[in-house]
Symmetry: D2
Subunit: 196 residues, 4 copies
């Protein structure tokens, strides 16, 4: 069985964010099929004028994500879109031109909110960026986890709600399957001289 190295990118900078907790819950539910790193998205704003210069936080972020097999995005919704922090991390990671750290890495997206819409707007804006970044994104199950609160979701990632626990477990299994599928498919093609 393949164990995938995954970068969990959490769009919230809050210390105690729901998306951080959900990331922990997914990690716990992944049954060792996934090994996670959790790089910080607290990065200087991307500015193309700085492409040639040394921005250590950008370099560290790029170097850590470059090594992983896939990405898990936790994407809170601010103002009906991704957070500035997450969007900026996409911009930093995608540059300089031709050196994107995201290309071809399989990805999955979850979003949540205290309200009912569960970050739908953020989730789909992020998916649009993933098209350009050439990341195959898991389609189902979609994860718009609404009505989040401290009772359902403890600070250490424990899920105290049957429905949410079931969704998280299903999501964790499906994303490991998705990373498997993309890896197996890509590997088969690479090894098959009649294919290309």
């Amino acid at each position: 069985m393949t164990r995938h190295r995954i970068a969990f990118l959490n769009g919230s900078l809050r210390k105690d964010s729901f998306h951080g907790r959900l990331g922990l819950a997914i990690i716990a539910a992944s049954n060792d099929r996934l090994a996670f790193i959790t790089p910080s998205l607290d990065l200087p704003l991307y500015d193309p004028d700085l492409d040639g210069s040394d921005t250590p936080a950008w370099t560290a972020f790029r170097d850590s994500v470059r090594l992983v097999d896939g990405i898990l995005f936790g994407s809170p919704e601010y103002n009906r879109s991704m957070t500035g922090a997450l969007k900026n991390a996409l911009d930093v990671g995608s540059r300089p031109y031709g050196q994107s750290i995201f290309t071809k890495k399989p990805a999955a997206v979850f979003s949540g909110s205290p309200g009912m819409t569960g970050g739908f707007g953020s989730n789909h804006h992020l998916r649009q960026s993933c098209v350009f970044l050439d990341m195959p994104v898991m389609q189902q199950p979609e994860a718009y986890w609404g009505l989040l609160d401290d009772e359902k979701l403890a600070a250490d990632g424990t899920v105290n709600d049957e429905m949410l626990a079931k969704l998280v477990t299903g999501f964790a299994g499906a994303l490991a399957d998705w990373y498997d599928l993309i890896r197996e498919g890509s590997g088969q093609l690479a090894g098959d001289p009649t294919q290309r």
Copy 2:
């Protein structure tokens, strides 16, 4: 080498549409890696009240698409979104509940326009629907083919423009690769008892 059976769904009902021509051009460029059917999208509007009754045009559409391995969407832009005809075909094909003809079928989207934006809005609205429909969609190359006219693109699908010809050929190869990848990946997983 696998030959994939593909349904080409053209969102335009015009007899002589650019998207129909582009579909022909992609078929011609696919080097027999893809075999196409081209079901008509001139379908009665979907109405859930009719789910139980017999609507022959819906049944014929569903039956033809159910058999294919993947989907190629040609998605013109009307009013910054998909055409009503294409959106309706998605609605018809996705129902009745639990019997969607689209589930898990790999897909690719191209769009074009006489103007410059190349159907960007339509292309991405369709991609959002594909998330719900659980169709893994090819991310790159994106195809927003702008500035289309009769000179570049003849009625029989001949492409008389070097740049467009190159884009069409690249797209045709990439989509066959994408169908390969999803098939191989799915097949590997299905045959590997340690995976699930």
Copy 3:
């Protein structure tokens, strides 16, 4: 006080649709500030090849909507976007080129669903079309009314749920204010020779 003539366009063709009921509830809550017509969206699919010919259902639809002062859209979500029926009505109404029935008419959008996301995807796809159609759309309150069921919302449009009733009433007042604002602003400008 101005009474605005409004076309309520319901994207669902179901006889007993939630969006039809919500439309009735909004009408009831509008305190006679709004007078509604409710044209059917059960229209033949738009096809540019038919622009010159006579399609009576298109003509009737266009003629009825052309006369109103503003539009109220009830936009159910099918497959994370507008229904095919609603998108088709936009296409029919926007054509032939230069004769759109929608231009400059103020609009408002509500969406709902039995689930939690309340038609968010449909709501915003429709808003993107409204940009092209040059319809100023009310921004707040947004209306994503989730968890709809027969108990909360009777077939005759009676709302048996305090929270939903409050949202519907707030929405009805705000949209009348929005139509007022656009009319007053446009009228002032038209009457003021220093403005243009």
Copy 4:
């Protein structure tokens, strides 16, 4: 004639960005109907944990934008969405809860690119945020200005291209009209006791 005070928010941090040049061109074309400030978007990333503490750059940004009558967004496209810098500025300006600097301010969006799609994806993601932020956005003319280069658009904002100059001038006039309309409409309503 009203002269509107506008904040021009440029999503690019590049010193010599095309969107900065386009902003200059629009200012020049506005015939003194608009007075601009151009606050920097080089702001620390928004983090809700810092809502109570003093972040001087946030305060300065909020204080400068709070005073204006309307917003002009120049929205480059990075990875098919807004730049991280612009999204972050929306997040900073919209908070703390209940103190958004954007509410009810009329807005307009232009986007451009060296390629053909003219920032379409960025433009519409920003519009989705404006719904939540309760900013009425000008719908037409849309501005997706493609094929930008140094020849057409000099570093000082001079437009050396007839078509682009015409688009910029039309856009500048329309946005002044839009700010007029929203102001006049709002003023009329505020002064009319029968309206609310």
